[in-house]
């Protein structure tokens, strides 16, 4: 960098000072685009950048980051809480929100300085955008071109339902569906892409299908108490048949309710479906947050460095960007009062940088651990490939290097509630690397945070009680109060009683049973 670039009035500078305007924004965007597409080889959806005020940012927060959303009190609650935190200065607002849609919409705040806008455009409009467009989870599970249409459909549908059936009724169903949202995703099957026309047609089909099959299942289901052994055998066979017809066992609770709940009205079914779709839309984001933020942070860092090297931004702007960059990737130690888990930005960014280092200047250790990429001299290609084909869990399992484990000084603690103290069982040494890597990957595995719950059976011979099971791994049971409340919601949608059995995954022994009687249907 020549000293000339620090002088004011340098012709190459894209901007000076902190004020921004639309022309500057456009100029900066073009400069960033050149680097992002040309040098980093990113591949992005068309960008749409929207400038909003802090108040609008709070609004966007409240509707879980989506540009339009149906009405529900819980969004109001979220707004109220964010507002308190923000006004008290406990929490700054995010500088941007970016939406996985095509065109990719990035919200940026008018309060940001020009340097911050530069950072934000690089981070959101290129980093996140590239990840959304290329990561296999997003490609498989979400349809970027259809989401805005679908949200419009959802919002209008909810509004219409409220007009027809009253806000209270609609809220009752949405409350219940929200409580089960985490259990409203297909984890494995490939979901067909959404589009609005298809949606309507499917709603039609579903109703017709349901009318044809509904009676059948419920009629054949009325099986008397078995009297003779043959009867019992037959009834067991019939029960198996019923389970098959109902598609049990099923882990997507919302899906099951939408298809099979006996007493839901069509509009209630559609509400359940809307909650399920939104949940499914967010499912990839939950599984790839660390990578997604890592990718975006890495991209803005690389771009800011290049802009500065070429004298396109001055030292002041670069320092401002770096200041905010370092506070974003700050990782306090476990015994720091500010510690609140691993910072996904910090870990993600560090891992991306580390992959680049391994590609460009590998050590002997790296060559041993990552023979396929060490020293290949193509950091961006390697990263693009990683961004496309991994999620947090598999990315850690594949790319967490001993170097990084040492850098973060990671260690593993084992906590058995039977024992009187926790035990450190792996640290950043030769014996611990693999242990820590696997444990960290498990930490990012969503399936391990969310209880493993399935709908197992419906007692059609008796009171139509829905039977669920929770596979208890490592002795971690369900939280008592929350579970009871959720089961009440579930029972409202199902219209009959609910039984949830907690079954130890190893011994198949029922540890605990939660039961909720049929809820009165309003």
């Amino acid at each position: 960098m020549s000293s000339v670039s620090t002088l004011s009035g340098d012709a190459r500078l894209l901007f000076e000072g902190s004020e921004w305007d639309f022309d500057t924004l456009r100029r900066v965007y073009d400069a960033i685009e050149e680097i992002a597409l040309g040098e980093l080889g990113l591949d992005v959806y068309p960008n749409q950048i929207e400038v909003i005020t802090s108040e609008q940012m709070l609004d966007a927060y409240a509707s879980i980051g989506l540009p339009l959303m149906y009405r529900h009190w819980s969004f109001g609650k979220r707004f109220a809480r964010e507002e308190v935190l923000y006004r008290r200065g406990l929490q700054g607002l995010a500088y941007e929100i970016v939406i996985n849609s095509s065109p990719c919409i990035s919200y940026i705040m008018e309060e940001n300085s020009m340097a911050m806008q530069t950072l934000v455009v690089a981070h959101a409009a290129f980093g996140h955008n590239h990840f959304f467009k290329n990561n296999y989870l997003f490609r498989q599970w979400t349809d970027a071109t259809g989401i805005l249409d679908y949200l419009t459909f959802a919002r209008d549908f909810v509004a219409r339902a409220e007009e027809q059936h009253g806000v209270v009724e609609v809220e009752r169903v949405l409350d219940a569906a929200h409580a089960l949202m985490n259990h409203g995703v297909h984890r494995y099957a490939r979901r067909p892409k959404l589009n609005l026309e298809e949606e309507r047609r499917r709603e039609e089909d579903r109703r017709r299908y349901f009318e044809q099959n509904y009676d059948d299942i419920w009629r054949t289901a009325l099986i008397g108490e078995p009297e003779t052994p043959e009867d019992e055998q037959r009834s067991e066979k019939e029960r198996a048949e019923v389970r098959r017809k109902l598609g049990l066992p099923e882990e997507n609770i919302l899906y099951f309710l939408e298809k099979q709940a006996p007493r839901l009205k069509p509009w209630q079914r559609e509400l359940v479906r809307i909650a399920r779709h939104i949940s499914q839309y967010f499912y990839p984001q939950k599984q790839s947050r660390m990578m997604n933020e890592g990718c975006a942070t890495f991209v803005h860092y690389e771009i800011a460095e290049r802009l500065h090297e070429r004298g396109l931004i001055n030292d002041g702007a670069f320092l401002e960007i770096m200041h905010s960059h370092t506070s974003v990737i700050f990782q306090p130690d476990y015994d720091d009062p500010r510690y609140n888990g691993l910072n996904p930005y910090a870990l993600g960014f560090a891992m991306m940088r580390d992959v680049k280092r391994i590609c460009v200047e590998p050590t002997a250790e790296d060559r041993e651990w990552f023979p396929e990429i060490a020293g290949n001299g193509d950091p961006y290609g390697t990263l693009r490939q990683a961004w496309a084909n991994y999620r947090d869990e598999s990315f850690v399992l594949q790319y967490l290097s001993p170097h990084l484990i040492r850098q973060f000084r990671l260690f593993r603690v084992f906590d058995d509630s039977e024992a009187d103290a926790m035990v450190v069982d792996a640290i950043h040494d030769e014996r611990g690397y693999r242990e820590i890597r696997q444990a960290l990957a498990r930490h990012f595995d969503l399936a391990r945070h969310e209880p493993d719950i399935q709908i197992r059976d419906v007692d059609l011979a008796g009171d139509r009680c829905l039977v669920l099971s929770h596979a208890v791994h490592n002795g971690v049971e369900l939280d008592e109060t929350g579970t009871h409340a959720v089961l009440e919601h579930l029972s409202y949608l199902w219209s009959y009683g609910i039984r949830l059995e907690e079954i130890d995954a190893k011994s198949d022994r029922v540890i605990k049973t939660h039961e909720v009687p049929a809820q009165k249907h309003g």
């Binding site: 009190w73 809480r81 308190v84 926790m422």
Partner: protein
């Protein structure tokens, strides 16, 4: 690439959701407000209120793993001293080292939910279900106060009330039905005559002239606007119920009132003041304070200045009647009064008060509320103190008059409930 300026978009996209949230938590919010009122210092302006409500009722439950029990593992950064096999005390209250790793969302387990109500939200909730009783004077419903109200149209009226639209509509209908030739039709006939003349078509010209004369005659006969077309706006005088109101605030500031009692009384009036200014645009408020003599004061003096002296309650009542006679004739005004006192009075004065209230004040007031402050504070040795002079006197009045209510207030926590009782909608007549 598109850059869109969304700043001019309508604000408050979340307002509807926020309203729903507050509605949902209404019960909790109301309780929290009553609670907040206790802490509020006198003289603090009524503004946005931070409320903290229990999460019950607004929780969004999820199925999640219990926070304790079973075998768990955590991966944490920042090891400086541990080697494999080291034992670590389990952090108490789950707030120590390994927290946060267990759940990605950090549990979200708050006992109370805190947020800020805007001033409007605060006051709306606060005064919900409250109103001034009998705002419309029953005996005065047929007073001369009237209002002009539109009442259709009439055939006769003053020119200023002419309804042009109606008039022209009638005129047009009449002209069409009576075949009045339009100016363009007459012009066409004139042109026809001229062309016939120019073509030396004598017969045609004569025919044309005949038609033209006929049309002109018709146009003269059928008037453009006829008196039968004309319509006037009609107004009727509708008697208007009387909703002018005045509230008298009477407060004892004598020496027997301790600072605590005065504070209580002031809190009550402050609440009343906010209530009235919020809910009724046209309510006058008169502040009267008294010791052994009474004077009308302004709001600021009433709430903030100190004075001390003996007690003669009737002076305040007399002052009130003086003001009523001077400025607020009962014929035109709804009169309300609220009085706060510790119940102490110059013994000989009680009869005077009773007589003033019974024969002069209550007949002309809509509602008279009396609160006695600090009454419970005198409770000694577990025996209820005997009722004060004023309480005894007023008790008799309360029996005879439905528009008189009395309550005791001993500490700030009771202010809101008492206020609520006194001004609750559909107040049961005592």
């Amino acid at each position: 690439m598109n850059i869109i300026d969304r700043r001019p978009n309508p604000k408050g996209k979340s307002l509807a959701n926020r309203q729903r949230f507050i509605d949902r938590a209404r019960g909790e919010v109301r309780d929290a407000l009553a609670d907040a009122l206790k802490r509020r210092k006198l003289g603090e302006s009524v503004g946005g209120e931070k409320v903290s409500i229990p999460t019950r009722g607004i929780t969004e439950p999820t199925l999640r793993p219990a926070r304790r029990g079973g075998q768990r593992e955590y991966v944490v950064p920042g090891n400086r001293k541990f080697v494999v096999g080291d034992r670590i005390e389990r952090p108490q209250s789950g707030d120590g080292g390994a927290r946060g790793n267990a759940s990605p969302e950090d549990g979200d387990e708050q006992d109370a939910f805190e947020f800020v109500l805007s001033k409007d939200e605060f006051l709306d909730l606060f005064f919900e279900d409250l109103e001034l009783p009998d705002l419309i004077k029953t005996q005065l419903k047929e007073t001369e106060a009237t209002q002009l109200t539109r009442a259709g149209f009439s055939m006769a009226g003053v020119p200023s009330a002419l309804n042009v639209v109606r008039t022209m509509r009638n005129s047009l209908a009449r002209r069409i039905s009576l075949h009045r030739p339009t100016p363009s039709e007459i012009e066409a006939l004139e042109r026809q005559v001229e062309t016939a003349r120019a073509a030396d078509d004598e017969e045609g010209a004569a025919q044309g002239l005949h038609d033209l004369a006929l049309a002109q005659k018709r146009a003269r006969r059928v008037a453009y606007i006829d008196p039968v077309d004309v319509r006037y706006n009609r107004f009727e005088r509708v008697p208007k119920p009387n909703t002018q109101a005045v509230m008298f605030c009477l407060m004892d500031v004598s020496g027997s009132m301790t600072e605590a009692m005065k504070d209580l009384a002031k809190r009550f009036f402050l609440l009343l003041h906010v209530f009235l200014t919020r809910r009724y645009k046209h309510v006058d408020i008169v502040f009267i304070r008294h010791t052994s003599n009474a004077q009308e004061v302004d709001e600021d003096t009433f709430f903030h200045s100190r004075e001390t002296g003996g007690t003669i309650v009737s002076t305040a009542l007399e002052e009130m009647m003086r003001v009523v006679r001077a400025r607020y004739g009962p014929d035109n005004w709804n009169i309300y009064a609220a009085q706060a006192s510790d119940g102490d009075n110059y013994t000989e004065d009680s009869d005077r008060c009773s007589q003033l209230l019974g024969s002069e004040i209550l007949p002309v007031t809509q509602y008279f509320a009396y609160i006695e402050v600090g009454a419970e504070a005198t409770l000694r040795h577990g025996f209820p103190s005997p009722p004060t002079d004023l309480w005894r006197t007023y008790s008799q009045i309360a029996e005879q008059h439905a528009n008189f209510a009395m309550r005791k207030v001993a500490d700030p926590t009771q202010i809101f409930p008492v206020f609520h009782e006194l001004f609750a909608k559909q107040r049961e007549q005592a």
